[in-house]
């Protein structure tokens, strides 16, 4: 059930019970006092009449100057006195020794034997209210003694009209309370419905968002509670939008990576497959051709091998647990220098290494691999006779490594893209040197694992410098 429906039903019921309850209680107590009053009145007028009868009988005896009046004489006195007052609204009956002595109209009292016995035994006046043939009567009764005989005298008055009035009143109250509760409930419901308008907006908004519209924002309106909710929903939408964008970015990057990888794998595969097929299907292959074809197949297979090696390296760098230690940069540089010197000599390029006394907290092998890759790039960019510098110094509370060459350099556009996997500034030059376009992507990954930042500054024809900025390690 919806909230407004619940509110409607509960308020309807509540108001109905309250109005009806109050009204019924008030009418009831009101009715009771009316009844009591009626009873009292009936009793007092009954007493007056009873006293009147007794006096009249006494007066008659004195007038007739008798010692005692006969029952017949009493009857005629009583009859003379009462008969004129008998009507359907109120009438008097007299019983003597349990038998009706003077009766009128409905035989109501015949059935009320218990009341009559009680009256005969009691000293004062008794009253009761009873129903008889769809009418309600108030009976008042007293025992009197006239001329030595005991009588019970009763006054019966019809009080049906009071009851009818009450019934009518209760019915009216019922109708009024229903009207009231319906009216108030409708007003309340309309008000609640209007109050909940922002909630419906939020709902619609969330549905839109579920459909993928992350760019939408809620307008702030409604009560303060709703405004807080709307604000929070907006904050949530913002964060979802950011997350989705980031995830989308990662997915796009991955897709691009896979596309490039496929391309880079298919290129050597095409040569390998083509030449192998030619060797297979050609009837006569000269010795020179055979050697040439086989040579290309081997070289291209080597390319595939180095590509798969780099891919594996990239994958493990992302996931492998690193073995961090505090390393003196000088030691690190000595190792790198010794390892690379033969390559540099062969290419006719000099390598200059210099470092301050400083330590870094790194995975030794992985960090060396980072330096090798950068130096390898510098080597590829340089011509014979050039110089490459590997330096390390403290700068602004951090350690700054730099690898610089005076080689071909790059344009701004190329610098921006050079860390993308498989991007090669000069494809044919890079391929001849056996590159797969993954070196710098790997460097960025290694730097990331060391919380270091990689920056490249380069000018075409003037050379390139790559900087690595990282925190200084603790002294050993």
């Amino acid at each position: 059930m919806k909230l407004w429906q619940k509110i409607f039903l509960i308020s309807l019921l509540g108001i109905y019970v309250a109005v009806e309850g109050t009204a019924v209680t008030v009418t009831w107590s009101n009715f009771k006092s009316i009844i009591e009053q009626e009873e009292e009145q009936a009793v007092s007028s009954h007493n007056d009449m009873a006293a009147g009868i007794v006096n009249r009988v006494l007066y008659e005896r004195l007038r007739q100057n008798k010692v005692i009046l006969s029952q017949e004489a009493v009857y005629s006195v009583v009859n003379e006195m009462i008969s004129s007052r008998q009507n359907s609204g109120s009438f008097t009956e007299i019983y003597s020794e349990g038998e009706p002595w003077y009766t009128y109209g409905p035989e109501l009292l015949k059935e009320k034997e218990a009341f009559r016995i009680k009256t005969a035994r009691s000293e004062g006046t008794l009253a009761m209210i009873t129903e008889y043939q769809n009418a309600v009567y108030c009976i008042a009764g007293t025992r009197i003694t006239m001329e030595g005989v005991d009588y019970e005298i009763y006054t019966v008055s019809d009080v049906t009209s009071i009851y009818t009035a009450r019934k009518k009143q209760i019915r009216n109250i019922g109708i009024i309370s229903i009207l009231f509760s319906v009216g108030i409930s409708v007003i309340l419901m309309a008000y609640v419905y209007r109050l909940l308008a922002p909630l419906r907006d939020i709902n619609r908004f969330l549905n839109e968002m579920a459909d993928g519209n992350y760019g939408l924002r809620l307008e702030k309106k409604g009560n303060i509670e709703f405004q807080t909710l709307e604000e929070n929903v907006n904050i949530m939408a913002e964060s979802i939008e950011n997350h989705v964008e980031r995830v989308q970015g990662i997915a796009d990057e991955r897709k691009q990576f896979i596309n490039n990888l496929a391309h880079e794998m298919k290129t050597p595969l095409t040569s390998i497959m083509g030449f192998a097929d030619i060797l297979r299907i050609k009837r006569e292959v000269s010795e020179k051709q055979r050697r040439e074809y086989a040579d290309i197949i081997v070289k291209e297979a080597g390319r595939l091998k180095s590509l798969s090696g780099k891919i594996l390296e990239l994958a493990t760098t992302e996931s492998v647990r690193l073995d961090y230690e505090n390393v003196a940069v000088k030691d690190l540089f000595t190792e790198v220098y010794t390892a690379l010197l033969p390559v540099f000599k062969k290419r006719g390029i000099s390598l200059r290494v210099s470092s301050e006394e400083v330590r870094v907290y790194v995975d030794r092998e992985l960090f060396k691999s980072l330096l090798y890759n950068l130096l390898d790039n510098a080597l590829k960019a340089s011509d014979s006779g050039g110089e490459i510098r590997l330096q390390c110094a403290r700068r602004d509370g951090a350690v700054l490594f730099s690898v610089s060459d005076d080689g071909v350099g790059m344009t701004k556009e190329q610098v921006k893209r050079v860390t993308e996997p498989f991007y090669m500034v000069d494809k044919s030059r890079s391929r001849k040197a056996g590159g797969a376009g993954l070196g710098l992507a790997l460097c960025v990954e290694i730097a990331k694992r060391h919380h270091a930042r990689l920056n490249i500054s380069s000018r075409p024809g003037r050379g390139t410098t790559v900087y690595i900025r990282m925190k200084e390690g603790v002294k050993a």
Binding site: H263, T267, P268, T270, I272, F275, I281, K282, K299
Partner: protein, 218 residues
Amino acid sequence: MIRILIVEDDENIARMIEAAISIVGYDCEISMDGNEAVVKIMENHYDLILLDVMLPGLDGFEVIQKIQCREVPVIFLTAMQNVSDKVRGLRLGAEDYIVKPFEAVELLARIEVVLRRYHKSSRSLKYEDIRVDIEKHTVTKGGKSVALTPKEFDVLVFFLQNQDIALTRERLLAAVWGYEFEGESRTVDIHVQQVRRKMGLQKKLITIPKLGYRLERQ
């Protein structure tokens, strides 16, 4: 003489294509850059262009748009496998689309189809005393006509077009039946035997164990 321009920036792939094409005796030239290729096509006459999509300078799609006026048939070579690239290439007027890596014979077969479509390869083929008219679908041996079923005719033509090349059963299936159904190389064997018997090629159309068949050059 048929002249083919290979536009491919990977040197080894270009050399491979050149080696494959030279088997069937076509003349070819290599260009490794989009801009250079456009200049060459504008200045020289070629019967067919083999165009790589990813090129330095202009890419393959740009090249084909620039050379539209020359009306040279183009076959795209690409490592990309997605359909949208293929559709784009064909819409720009390419004749065919070959995905790397590919077999040498497949390349040759596709080249043959395009050249034939442009009526650049001969419509009649000769082999010893066999004469085949591709247009009229007729075969004669020593002046007498030989009755071949359509598939046998296609098999014979494919052998004549690829003389001295070992043809695998799969390649024959793809070329003649137009699709590659596996496990049905028996069909190929039966047709080759029929052609061999009807054309009297028992000595020339030889079986190469584990590989396929080869029609030796006369």
